[in-house]
Amino acid sequence: MEKENLRLDEIIREENIVFKKTPLLTDKVFSYCPGCGHGVVHRVIMEVIDELGIQSETIGISPVGCSVFAYDFMNIDMQQAAHGRAPAVATGIKRCWPDKYVFTYQGDGDLAAIGTSETIHACNRGEHIAIFFINNGIYGMTGGQMAPTTLPGMKSSTTPYGRDTRLMGNPIKITELVATLPGTYFVTRQSVHTAVNVRKLKKAAKMAFENQKLKKGLSFIEVVSNCNSGWKMSPIQANRWMEENMLPFYPIGDIKINGNFVKRN
């Protein structure tokens, strides 16, 4: 044991660091529940901005929802938008500052319910921005109400017996929907429940920022995530439930790259 301790002293040294928190996240403790996917997505986006060296050239738009305070956590220029209006605000900023990197960060209630119109029109106009869409299947912040993305049969505080599609309609696959618009250049769906998926999200996020230089259209990245509080599960249970129920309905993978549809088996 003493030998092990000795080894730890040798390992835990500045020069041996292979991973540490990016300085592009502020020192504020995230306001998210333990195990919530929002924190991972925040970190991945900030790591990409750090690695691309574009901290001073990037402007983010935070939504209404649990991630409303993203501007407190992301150490870049940020603007907060009214509920669902982030793509419209991003459009204005990008058109004033065409050479800045502009992205929105939005939940499914924000992007796919109250903000559906802004989302679809920004995608259709092909604004040269990136949209990060965190899909946890419900309204997290307000207490777990049904969202347009809630799965058929899924329980939420407003569908205590499960979503009845005859009454409430079917969930919207907004990502597949925007992929059909010629304005979108890159459309993908990712998740953050395993280390492999986090790595893939990072690759996608990098592409979304690099695409902005090309000025060929909008990059849309959905991240299927958990809201363990809203789902009333432990974080580990929530990730398992997500894998078994959300991912078959919202399959992970690229849908459109460089403006072309990706063939899927």
Binding site: I12, Y32, G35, P235
Partner: protein
């Protein structure tokens, strides 16, 4: 033979005890401490440091970016 050894350091005060790192670690290094931090969360800790390879999986899934990972090659 060269051996890769890893270690993690956890920012105890920022850890919310979600246990996702425990689940993500392929070599069962991490466990939850019986003690709690000032917010009342049981925080993650290295239970079997000898197994750590510094693969970074725990840090990648950590929602609060509280894990720093170290890796060193030993020749012996």
């Amino acid at each position: 033979m060269a051996k890769i050894k890893g270690a993690i350091v956890i920012d105890i005060e920022r850890c919310k005890g979600c246990e996702l790192c425990v689940d993500a670690c392929p070599t069962d290094v991490i466990g939850m401490e019986k003690k709690v931090n000032s917010k009342g969360y049981h925080y993650a800790a290295m239970e079997h440091p000898e197994n750590c390879t510094g693969c970074v999986n725990c840090a990648l899934v950590c929602p609060d970016a509280v894990i720093t990972v170290y890796r060193k090659k030993f020749e012996d």
